[in-house]
Assembly symmetry: C2
Homo-oligomer: 412 residues x 2
């Protein structure tokens, strides 16, 4: 079953909005073995929308359209759908009732715009929207399934999970497509690939993709076939072979993020952590509290941005700052010891650096970062230098510190 995802909206074309909806839909479809062959986006221009939808209906078995179902001016999708399926908009009583109810709950009076929402294409099968007012619209023509979903991410996601996927499951696809991810950190894509090549590894019955991000590089394995057991076996073989070759950079083969991995390690060891950060301004603490139940291992963080904060909150010696500067191994060391001391946690993390764009010197250029970890055995400080803009430098610094903590916990 070949699928295409079409997202509609000037905001996506103009780049004002990053298209996360298509990614969500793609993941959900892949999970039930439906192959997304193409994604496309067009603006709120009637002719472009119609042309794209008609083209898709001819060439794909499943067409999922998202965006343009909200109550705003640029929403002409419903009309275009009517044109594509040669039907018309009629008042849909159920939708109208849902709308009335929802507005009542919100204590809002219904505007003309809202009432317009209850108009739906005649002959469509509607998927109920548990979070919003615009339902999903489904048409089946010949062997093609068409589904249009609202663009608001939360509503779109709810409709995919509770509406589209169950609807599609009924039509079993037979083919099994499975993925496995090998999560790595600390080695660039090209070097990972070279390593595999040099070790004589060749993808065996799978497709391989390297997915780089600032939180590491994901090695994604994809295999398909009729027999799920066989497909899993093929993936397992390749996963263990690859993990073996680049072992020192692999932190998970269970699709855990670096933050999740660190969280589960801390819970496992019943260890606690606190963090003192400067240039990352709270990013490390944020990452450590991303996962539910983080209060089990995270107690507090100090964003010691000004020198006074480093001195007053963490007990950093003013003379150390004066002698070595706030961005130095020595200050990082005292920050790590300080936060561990005041919070009484097993691990005390510290990060100080120059995120830029200003503040760099020849001796300490923008991108230089000191990463410290204090525990019962002492303090270790690592110096790193990152390139990129302020956000990139901050993000890479934060993740690198997490990875250092992971290694420290595992005594690697």
């Amino acid at each position: 079953m070949d699928a295409i995802i079409i997202t509609i909206g000037d905001e996506i074309l103009s780049g004002a909005t990053i298209d996360t909806n298509a990614a969500y839909i793609a993941k959900a479809l892949f999970a039930i073995g439906i192959d997304v062959r193409k994604r496309s986006s067009v603006g709120d221009i009637r002719e472009d929308m119609l042309r794209e939808i008609k083209l898709a209906l001819e060439e794909y078995d499943l067409v999922v359209v998202t965006g343009g179902l909200g109550p705003t001016d640029d929403d002409i999708t419903k009309e275009v759908i009517c044109e594509a399926f040669n039907t018309r908009l009629v008042k849909h009583e159920e939708t109208l009732e849902t709308l009335k109810m929802r507005y009542k709950q919100l204590g809002m009076t219904m505007s003309d715009i809202a009432i317009g929402l209850s108009l739906q294409p005649e002959g469509a099968h509607l998927l109920i929207n548990p979070l919003g007012t615009a339902p999903g619209i489904v048409f089946e023509r010949n062997d093609t399934i068409f589904c249009s979903l609202p663009g608001v991410p939360s509503e779109m996601q709810a409709l995919v999970d509770s509406g589209l996927i169950p609807f599609l499951r009924e039509r079993e696809t037979g083919k099994v497509i499975l993925f496995r991810d090998i999560s790595t950190f600390g080695m660039p894509e090209s070097k990972l690939a070279a390593r595999l090549l040099d070790a004589g590894y060749k993808p065996d019955g799978i497709r391989l993709a390297f997915l780089p991000s600032y939180s590491g590089i994901l090695i994604r394995l994809r295999a398909e076939g009729e027999d799920e057991k066989k497909v899993r076996a093929i993936l397992d073989q390749n996963v263990s072979r690859i993990s073996e070759i680049v072992s020192e950079f692999v932190f998970s083969t269970d699709s855990e993020s670096l933050a999740e991995k660190v969280a589960s390690l801390l819970k496992e060891k019943r260890a606690t952590v606190s963090v003192a950060e400067s240039c990352t301004g709270g990013m490390v603490a944020k990452l450590l509290t991303d996962t539910p139940g983080s209060s089990k291992y995270f107690t507090q963080g100090i964003v010691a941005y000004a020198n006074e904060a480093k001195i007053d909150r963490l007990g950093v010696d003013p003379r150390t700052i004066k002698k070595y500067g706030a961005v130095s191994e020595e200050v990082c060391r005292e920050m790590a010891e300080g936060i561990r001391h005041i919070s009484g946690t097993d691990y005390g993390l510290a990060l100080t650096g120059i995120a830029g764009p200003g503040g760099g010197t020849d001796e300490k250029p923008v991108g230089i970062v000191y990463l410290g970890i204090a525990d019962g055995e002492g303090v270790s400080v690592t110096k790193r230098s990152f390139s990129g803009d302020r956000d990139v430098i901050r993000t890479r610094s934060a993740y690198t510190l997490l990875n250092l903590l992971r290694k420290r916990i595992l005594k690697l």
Copy 2:
């Protein structure tokens, strides 16, 4: 000049990677008046890539392809380009030299894979990659310009800014397309739209799009024409009319983010701020330090996750926690007063809530948040309730506190 952006890679189709490259390219093209009519993505399947590129070459004046130029297995774009333009790969000495240099700088020895990077389509005009090894590839056929860029975001961006855009500028497009954004916070899309409608506003010579996100709703105005002055005038008229109607929700008409707006206000007033946050785990501090030069107004933040941290760091009275609970107006008040006191800043922000998924009760369900601001005139605490998952609740809470600070500074 009608453009299409094609992004290539299984990772985009599968949803493993969010396609931020296309958004960046779209913005850059819009800025020089080139209209992106369509975006599409295909996987690393030769036939799909070739089909999509050939189709695009027939129908658009500018075809920008990104992804699939890195040194990994799934990179067959160059070969597909050769097929589309009916040419072949030849060793490109300049690229080879750049590669050798770069590898030398990195102290790396060149692998066979790296050497493969120096193969480029014969007859192509190459754009030098200032950050990486893979150049941009440009072909001109008939009236169509084709450009292929590497998929690594930083390199792609550098090539767009230093290569593609200057290259396109040479071919003036004549038509002027301009945008203006009205940034709002605190009112849903449908209500904003209803407001405008009720006030009798109709878009006049512009196209309007509502771009919702957790940091507010952007009202994007788009106008085009031959005469830049006239286009600007039309935008100005519409901007002031709209801003008038929904004034109390508008925080910027200069494309400032909420964080940037707050930052510039604080600098303007020479005011300082500190923050004490619980469930957001550092997000507010992170937002306040996103903008360069934030040390001018931000001194420190405390992520007081555990009750002990609230007591030890911020001087919250244990009895207050015992009596009202850590998530309460009273504790939020003491957190705000506490952080302002210890940091000596003009404003002290505080945030405590239940981000979930666990920890909710009938009395205090998941999503309940208390937002506090302390200044010379006292403390004000606002209670809000947000729906969504953990990340959504945390993000909305953090931005809502920023918006409250903005209003407090402006005495709104």
